[in-house]
Amino acid sequence: MASPLLSVRDLTTVIRTEGIEFEVVRGVSFDMYPNEILGLVGESGCGKTMTALSVMGLIPSPAARIAGGRVLFGDRDLVSLGERAMREVRGDDISMIFQDPLTSLDPMFTIGHLLTEVIRRHRSVSRSEAEAMALQALTEVELPDPETRMSQYPHQLSGGMRQRVMIAMALMLDPDILIADEPTTALDVTVQAQILDRLLGQQRRRGMSMLLITHDLGVVAAVADRVAVMYSGEIVEQAPVTQLFSDPQHPYTQGLLRAVPQTRHQRGALHTIPGRVPPPQFVPPGCPFSPRCSQALVRCWEEHPELVPDDGRHLRCFNPQPLAPA
């Protein structure tokens, strides 16, 4: 395999509330390669978004800070890179798309203004050249009637159109890496497929590396090349997509897959994982999943498992069992 474009190593991010710091991202490591989609899945509150914001250097300050680890991009470590240099990277080398397109665009400025402002931040081009670039980007994401949209305000566009604008903004400077944080969650089901399709097409065409954050396993199965499963701030299993879906090893991954409704099975109660994600203040000392795990051993309650590589897969579990047929 080619050398990674971005390497996250032992990334740890802490949040401080009422004077107490606790870890929301705990020793996360993963690699991103060119022309590849890495899916990052997990329940709400498991640290997916905080991981992405840590990579971007956009964690809410001063409430949160990166307490350790590195984010290697080329020959630079983004964690120790200064804010000024980091601003050069953001939007140009690494871009990000957010979950809610309705609230993610400044309502006081036109689409054209917002796009050209970012272009002129990174490229020394004239206003009209920037406008041409913005128009080109809007055309590429198949936003209907792009010339008119340039002079419109965000409130005049639908949610799906606004997400296309967000994608155009993220892609217009040809970034090496795109982080998409739940890009379709807030949209209508019919629009979701279109947006995902647009995103995927652009990723393939540009040979870009993409981190797709989602809790929708169907989306991951359809588009991702590799998948990392997060639980309670750590990656518990990481594998190529076919391997993960055909032979999940971690009991949490197995639970997630069984929780997906299957139309071909008989009707009845949907499978659920008992309990919920522990809040970061109260992570159990052993395996954080042990309180909810049906196959936990005494060791799981006492010792914290490491993420162990094994034949292209990484697994953090003392007692993996094959998935019982549903």
Partner: protein, 305 residues
């Protein structure tokens, strides 16, 4: 555009209602209008003749229409006390009031908005707490007391500024600051909260993800959004300044509309009191209307519908 039309109709209705209210209120306040014009030795017959001449014996609604008719044709009448032309008094004292009011209005925004922005950017630091404490003081201290206090300190003790008078720039400083104090304090608080509210928006993260600097994100985008509530409340600040001008002008001996009005009321000088009350009402209503226009102009979500 419908918004603009409805605001304008609303303004005209308010003006009509308040002109009636002002007219009745002055006649209900008791006292004898002839006392202003005639010497104390005048007989009851003389007073009755004068009342007849001035139309004071007509029913009030009839007096109202006669008065409004004259007003709209440009005849503002004369003062009862010294027979001065009211139109001349308006020009002379109006200019002074506009100077003082405009100075106070500028102070409110040129001081209030930057301080509020500073407090929001330095949230929960010493600077923020200092600014917010000052603003609490600015709202809590009644302006007549602040006026007396500032005269005592800057005129009597330190001797830096004159205590009263018109119309040197040095004489403008104290009354303008006192007049602006409460509005500035409110504007600081409002700017701070509007900035903080917008700083938490999702789109701030989008702009940062685009690599824009904090100066751009906050100074341009967040500020532009925070400006909407600031503009819409500018109308209230105008009303506040007009109202407080009565007190502040009297204390500092600043010969503006407020001072004339207070004197006219004390002397039962109906035509003057009536007209100057109306002028203040018009200024307040017009100020609110202008703020509505500004709100419309500043907010793209209202502009095209």
């Amino acid at each position: 555009m419908r918004y603009l039309a409805s605001r304008t109709v609303y303004m005209l209705v308010i003006l009509a209602i308040s002109s009636v209210a002002v007219f009745y209120a002055i006649r209900l306040s008791g006292g004898d209008a002839t006392a202003a014009r005639l010497p104390a030795s005048a007989t009851e017959a003389d007073r009755e003749t004068l009342r007849e001449v001035l139309g004071l014996n007509d029913p009030i609604y009839q007096q109202y229409f006669t008065y409004m008719g004259r007003l709209l044709s440009g005849d503002l009448g004369n003062s009862l006390t010294n027979n001065a032309l009211i139109s001349k008094m308006v020009v002379e004292h109006g200019r002074n009031s506009i100077i003082l009011g405009a100075a106070a209005f500028l102070l409110v925004f040129l001081v209030g908005v930057p301080l509020g922005m500073l407090a929001s950017v330095r949230r929960n630091t010493l600077a923020d707490q200092g600014i917010m404490s000052l603003s609490v003081a600015g709202m809590a201290v009644p302006n007549f007391w602040l006026a007396l206090l500032s005269i005592w300190l800057f005129a009597s003790v330190l001797g830096w500024l004159p205590s009263a008078g018109c119309c040197e720039p040095r004489q403008l400083i104290l009354p303008a600051i006192v007049l602006a104090a409460e509005g500035t304090a409110l504007t600081v608080r409002m700017t701070r909260s509007a900035m903080l509210e917008n700083l938490d928006s999702d789109w701030v993260r989008t702009l940062r993800a685009g690599g824009l600097s904090e100066a751009r994100v906050i100074g341009k985008h967040v500020f532009r959004n925070a400006l909407i509530p600031i503009i819409s409340l500018a109308g209230l600040r105008i009303g506040q300044i007009v109202g407080y001008a009565l007190i502040v002008e009297v204390i500092f001996g600043w010969p503006g509309l407020g001072q004339v009005l207070v004197n006219a009321v004390l002397r039962r000088d109906y035509p003057v009191a009536q007209f100057f009350s109306l002028v203040l009402v018009v200024m307040v209503v017009l100020g609110n209307w202008l703020a509505d226009l500004g709100y419309l102009a500043a907010n793209p979500r209202l502009r095209k519908t």
